[in-house]
């Protein structure tokens, strides 16, 4: 251990350094580590050569070309034409733009969203409801799947937009998007899907074809944070959500973030190259992890549908506090989460957990393990070794499990 005492400067500086072994990272649904392809692609744009892509001069032209090339990469991942891709500051802005914009300007008509949407869809929906827009929250079943019948019941002749996520971020359940989209279209409504969590694992083209609007986030596919995209079906008259200098055809104001967009494009290209070969291998690792844990831990159950993301394992342990479990696992070298990562860093019970309708003894003891393309056999071995001990220790501590 090396120690420095620094007297100067008010900014926080790490004063102790210690080599710690790399954790097994099983929290890819929260964020995927930046891939080397994105780092390399961004490098020149971070070190001073980025001009405003809207500038007339040669330097601006280079930025413009880089942005448009990246737009093409996003379009290839989606299976659409580049002009249908609008860059946003991330998945949250893409969802906000879709929900607000899909209802026209000013927002009007009836909105249908599922009860297990990400907060980036749920909160705009709640805000619109508060403004007087009619909103229906279609419930999910106890496997976190939104049933066709519940959506059918929610849709009315006045419905203007239906928004259902492609894959749930917490438990990984895949939703019957193509059928729900068809139902929306049959009644004359637009259909939006939040495909942020599905993007690393499923072929997006069928989703794009089915949808009028589709959200993506760069950092869930190993690109940089702070960038995302909304697909808007060509010809769709979509009002801007962020208003400004008329960039991106007037659909999204603000100078395009060249470096981030270039990194996002590189991550899309990488995803296209290695996704299909990774799905089967990762599903195998996930299944082994899950089976081992179910076998070795009493009072354990797995949640979500059979039909789910190949990388996501969501479990609940009876009489166990999931938040404490995650802290304990972190100290034991496994990075996981109790549910979705939230802004405060203090997890709360989510509507998704509520939807599972778990027996009370399980309700506070959730653990989400989400694998990535780079997860190895040895990672899974370390996790299957650490988790049973951690569950045992948390249960034995005498801490009262509430919620």
């Amino acid at each position: 251990m090396q120690q420095n005492t620094l007297q100067s400067g008010a900014s926080p500086v790490t004063i102790f350094h210690m080599e710690t072994p790399q954790n097994v990272y099983l929290d890819h649904n929260a964020s995927v580590p930046l891939c080397v392809e994105a780092i390399n692609a961004m490098q020149p744009w971070l070190t001073g050569s980025a001009s405003n892509p809207s500038s007339v001069h040669r330097s601006g032209q280079r930025s413009r070309a880089a942005v448009e090339k990246a737009r093409g990469e996003v379009a290839k991942l989606l299976g659409c034409q580049p002009s249908a891709v609008i860059f946003t500051s991330g998945g949250t802005e893409a969802n906000n733009m879709a929900i607000w914009g899909g209802l026209g300007w000013p927002p009007h008509g009836h909105l249908v969203v599922s009860a297990i949407e990400h907060p980036a869809v749920m909160e705009p929906a709640v805000a619109l409801r508060d403004l007087g827009v009619e909103v229906t929250f279609a419930p999910a079943d106890n496997q976190a799947v939104v049933g066709l019948e519940t959506v059918r019941a929610a849709i009315s002749p006045n419905t203007k937009l239906v928004s259902i996520m492609a894959a749930n971020n917490e438990v990984g359940s895949l939703q019957p998007i193509e059928k729900i989209a068809a139902m929306a279209h049959d009644s004359g409504a637009l259909f939006h899907t939040d495909a942020v969590q599905a993007a690393p694992w499923t072929d997006l083209q069928p989703l794009t074809i089915s949808s009028d609007l589709l959200s993506l986030s760069s950092h869930k596919i190993a690109g940089p944070m702070g960038i995302g995209a909304l697909y808007a079906r060509p010809g769709l008259d979509l009002p801007p959500f962020v208003r400004g200098g008329g960039q991106q055809g007037g659909r999204r104001g603000g100078t395009e973030a060249t470096a981030l967009i270039v990194g996002f494009g590189a991550a899309c290209a990488r995803t296209r190259t290695i996704r299909d070969e990774s799905v089967g291998r990762v599903a195998g690792l996930r299944d082994r992890l899950e089976t081992t844990l179910l076998d070795s831990i009493e009072g354990a159950r797995r949640n979500g549908s059979e039909f789910r993301l190949p990388n996501t394992c969501h479990m609940s342990f009876a009489h166990c506090d999931g938040n404490v479990l995650v802290a304990r696992l972190d100290l034991d070298g496994v990075s996981a989460s109790a549910g979705a990562a939230c802004a405060s860093g203090v997890a709360e019970t989510s509507p998704v957990i509520d939807a599972l309708r778990l027996p009370a003894k399980y309700s506070a003891g959730s653990l989400r393990l989400s694998l990535g393309y780079e997860t190895t056999e040895s990672d899974v071995d370390r996790a299957t070794h650490a988790i049973p001990d951690a569950v045992h220790a948390v249960r034995e501590s005498g801490l009262e499990v509430t919620r």
């Binding site: 926080p12 802290a327 501590s397």
Partner: protein, 358 residues
């Protein structure tokens, strides 16, 4: 090298405690309890700022400086149910509560202690100014070396077995040394001001806080009577008063009058002259013994009847069922039901109990 879970509030004391343990080469894990619900309502109504987002952010920054893991756990429900609501109810009923003593017993050395166990920590450390010395029989809890910062009084009600795996890194330091250590290590909170108020009433306005949670219909208003029986007026709620209080009575009289007693049942505020505040005995209930076994026969010790009180000679006589009668050599002023009484032998905290009456 041991794994030590450190309770980190984001203040200079607990931050320095964590840094000292880190300097000693321990594996330090920071733990912060979020004990207050940060809804917009609470913020805009100016209610509590206990472990505010800014304090939690400070704890995170210091943890990053120290390169230690740090976790935040939300136990605001328990804090509300076990500390804040009983605090309001005690005031309502004419007692003067001491929530920090309860927080040590029910939160810091219970929830936090169990969290430390869950994290497989060998020890729990806090920034209390107190000293623990191991002993074959049971841990010996001494006052903090800096008498002006000593917090041993607030620890009298913690079950002694909870101190077995506890470290108080600041117990042997003066406050100035703590600041100096924080500055030497360039801790981000080295110059952060101290808070002297209850953590959930940062503005110190106890009456506002209690009344915000006590509808008018629930307040115990009633008569104000002189000790001699004269009716002097009406008061608007027992919660506004404490034994020995002079201000806020709204009385005009030739002699200065003080609150002498708050009578439950009749909700009477009894007032009298200063001399009437003196008493030579008190009864304490729910006693807890820290550094010694529960006494079975009368014990001479020093007794402290509130936080800022110099201990005085007393004879402590067990009267069964963890109750004691305390007889003072010299009469004490304003012995207050609801406060704790702690017993010392020199610097050694023997134990304590809850004052029921005189």
């Amino acid at each position: 090298m041991a794994r030590v879970a450190v309770a980190m509030s984001g203040g200079v004391d607990s931050s320095t405690a964590a840094a000292m343990l880190r300097e000693d080469g321990h594996e330090v894990v920071g733990v912060t309890l979020q004990l207050w619900d940060y809804t917009a309502e609470n913020l805009t109504s100016g209610r509590g700022r206990c472990c505010s987002p800014a304090d939690i952010a400070d704890a995170r920054i210091v943890s990053d400086q120290l390169n230690i893991s740090h976790y935040v756990f939300d136990h605001s429900d328990a804090f509300e149910d076990q500390i804040v609501e009983p605090f309001v109810q005690e005031y309502k009923n004419g007692m003067t509560p001491s929530p920090c003593i309860n927080c040590n017993r029910l939160v810091k050395f219970d929830i936090l202690w169990k969290l430390a166990r869950s994290l497989e920590a060998d020890f729990l450390a806090t920034g209390h100014y107190a000293r623990l010395e191991p002993s074959p029989a049971r841990p010996q809890l001494h006052k903090g070396l800096d008498q002006s910062k000593d917090q041993s009084y607030f620890l009298f009600d913690v079950p002694v077995e909870r101190f077995e795996k506890v470290i108080f890194p600041l117990g042997g330091l003066a406050k100035g040394e703590v600041r100096a250590t924080a500055r030497r290590l360039n801790l981000a909170v080295a110059d952060k001001p101290e808070s002297y108020e209850l953590c959930f009433i940062p503005d110190g306005n106890k009456d506002n806080f209690v009344e915000g949670r006590l509808p008018i219909a629930q307040r115990r208003n009633g008569p104000v009577r002189h000790l001699d029986g004269t009716l002097l007026g009406q008061h608007s709620g027992l919660h506004r008063f404490t034994v020995g209080q002079r201000r806020g009575l709204g009385l005009t009289s030739a002699e200065p009058l003080f609150v002498v007693a708050l009578e439950r049942g009749t909700d009477t505020l009894v007032v009298g002259p200063s001399e009437a505040l003196a008493a030579k005995t008190l009864d304490a209930v729910r006693c807890n013994w820290v550094s010694i076994e529960a006494p079975t026969k009368p014990l001479r010790a020093h007794a402290r009847i509130r936080h800022r009180h110099n201990e005085v000679d007393a004879l402590i006589t067990p009267v069964g069922d963890d109750r004691v009668r305390v007889q003072f050599k010299e009469a004490q002023r304003a012995i207050t039901p609801g406060q704790g009484v702690a017993f010392y032998d020199g610097d050694l905290l023997l134990g304590g109990g809850w004052i029921q009456g005189t």
